[in-house]
Symmetry: C2
Amino acid sequence: MTSAEILQQHGIRPSLTRVMIYDYLREHRTHPTADEIYTALSPNAPTLSKTTVYNTMKLLSAEGVIKTITIEEQQARFDACIDTHGHFLCKDCGKVFDFDTELPSMKIPEGFSPTVTEIYCIGRCKSCN
Amino acid sequence: MTSAEILQQHGIRPSLTRVMIYDYLREHRTHPTADEIYTALSPNAPTLSKTTVYNTMKLLSAEGVIKTITIEEQQARFDACIDTHGHFLCKDCGKVFDFDTELPSMKIPEGFSPTVTEIYCIGRCKSCN
DNA sequence: TAATAACTTTGTAATCAATACAATTTATAA
DNA sequence: TTATAAATTGTATTGATTACAAAGTTATTA
């Protein structure tokens, strides 16, 4: 499915800018920061504003199109893959890796309604070990 | 076990300041921010510096005495309970709740060595529902 | 089509959690 | 005591994120 179609399905108007940003995130599974997205797209979109990147990430995240990842860092990272999977942050090189995992059996108390579930680990990656 | 003993077991010299801060975190299971800890302790420790709170949280977290929680917020929260449990962030009231959970069966790739595992949910809590 | 309204994008300025750093204080060892 | 190491403090700075208002774009209605 195209990025534009996915955005539309979530009630988000698929402007050129939004599609470009979402496309980038779908094609680069490196869990980039807002700044990295901005830097990567700037050469081909000279009028792009960093605020727009932030606005777009916030919108897509709120609508469940993408996931916002924050693992003991000041800067948020973003992931276009919203299927269940875990994230592994290497505290040496700072990279974030995906890993397969099941959802655990969580005893969420009565009356609590979760919309997002996240599982992550911190440690050392293969290269840094 | 006393806070001083726990700190010592982790090779951290149990200064008065550190014990006071760690004590507070053990007694207040509200997942406070550094600022909240500082504000709470200031009246009884007028010379306490916010930098010291940050330094202490960083040290205790690095040594595995406490857990640092960051769930799509700019400010980190801290938890003296390091047993396996999940965190639930209510996006309405902003409070963080504990919930029981098992660790899922995670397929961490060969060569990756995790030291910390976290599970959290975002949603709406009982009071806000 | 033209006018209007609604939405999107942009740039600048402001916010604020966290850190750097050097000075001061406190504790330990010789 | 004196010297050395460690801990604490305050100030200044950093840097990610947001606020906000202006400018630009798209959709809607007459």
